[in-house]
Subunit: 234 residues, 2 copies
């Protein structure tokens, strides 16, 4: 299965060069002019690796990077023209898996990309993805328990199934139909607010977490990580 890579850089030249090299290696590449465009696309169709320039208009790369990392474990390579140690640290802090300073050789980039994929493929073989992490929460599918940081949270069967599904679709808007189908196993058009009920109870148990179940008016719900930064913006 070919890996999917997204690139965001406002310099069309760079995009093209990086893109060509990666396509040459057999990767499925999509290019974006801005981090926001990439983020949009990612929510619709997730990819395996992201290459982000941190110097872009709009929300900068680091913000996007942080946003992605709150609820997804996609690989991220940060690219920057700045070579200050500060930026290196900040970039890494926000969760990038690797960091490259411009100008860099495309060969170098390709090497890093391959190295990252090698690493995760190795992990996948040994450690199956039993543990799902979103923000400050994690659930272990095998042992069937759920944690907020260090605190264990007791969940009922339906709550657990629902939360697992939401974790797997973090940041995506999920419709009631979808939930009924995948969590309840109901295929027909059930006219029920059962989903709301479980979510209502789930919300109570998540008050201490930064992970929140938002409601998408007239549609369904979305799992989101409350962010200090955004909170102050509101």
């Amino acid at each position: 299965m070919s890996k999917r890579i997204y690139i965001a850089d406002d310099d069309a030249n760079i995009r093209f060069i990086i893109g060509s090299f990666l396509k040459n290696e057999g990767y499925q590449v999509e290019e974006f002019e801005s981090g926001d465009a990439l983020y949009e696309r990612f929510l619709a169709v997730p990819c395996d690796l992201i290459i982000l320039d941190i110097m872009m208009e709009g929300r900068d790369g680091l913000t996007i990077c942080a946003k992605l990392r709150e609820s997804h474990s996609v690989l991220i390579i940060i690219v920057s023209a700045l070579d200050s140690e500060l930026d290196r640290i900040t970039g890494i802090t926000l969760g990038s898996d690797d960091y490259l300073v411009k100008p860099f050789s495309p060969v170098e980039l390709v090497a890093r990309v391959k190295a990252l994929f090698r690493r995760v493929d190795l992990d996948r073989k040994v450690v199956s993805a039993d543990i799902l992490v979103v923000g400050d929460m994690r659930i272990n599918v095998k042992s069937r328990d759920c944690w907020i940081d260090q605190k264990k949270v007791d969940l009922t069967p339906t709550e657990f199934a629902l939360l697992t599904y939401m974790f797997q679709h973090a940041d995506q808007a999920v419709s009631r139909q979808q939930l009924l189908k995948h969590v309840w196993g109901v295929e027909w058009d059930a006219d029920t607010r059962a989903t709301d009920d479980i979510l209502k109870r789930l919300r109570k148990k998540l008050v201490d977490s930064r992970v929140k179940v938002e409601s998408v008016w007239g549609f369904g719900f979305r799992l989101a990580v409350e962010n200090e930064h955004e909170k102050s913006e509101k």
Copy 2:
């Protein structure tokens, strides 16, 4: 059961970076400003792995490392800004299991952590080809006997088979279906609570052990080791 990791570094930035990455991998992470603080905490609640900066005020990392190693077999990764060969040798001699020189990439650290866990988990499995150990109990699959500490426990055939299966899936939630299939060899959807019955009897025989059969409401059961420390935290 998720692994518990303690980090001691006087640089809050580094602590945060390392912490975030490890949390993202599903580990239970706690951060400490000094080696002494970590040591205190460790005595109260042991962990599986420790990441220590050796350049800290107070008792330095190496001393703590030696201290920890006197009586415990916890995994230790030493982190240092020094790149002298001398320090490397000393650190390893004093019992650390791995050694990283700053600046290092978080990715590298995560990889090493996983590698260490992989190694010890592998060891445990190999040793226990026909002797399974969980907490203060062990069962010998070949001689078909079972011990709590030094005391032998008599088990009936079904009890033994069931316990063996639970030992092989320690810390995991196991459904009744699963038990019926693997212990009884029943494939169809049996509506029976035979599993509950055997476990009921098994539980009585395990009262003196720290190993407990928990029930996972609406799902099945889970074998867990009752932990003094976690108990007190509740």
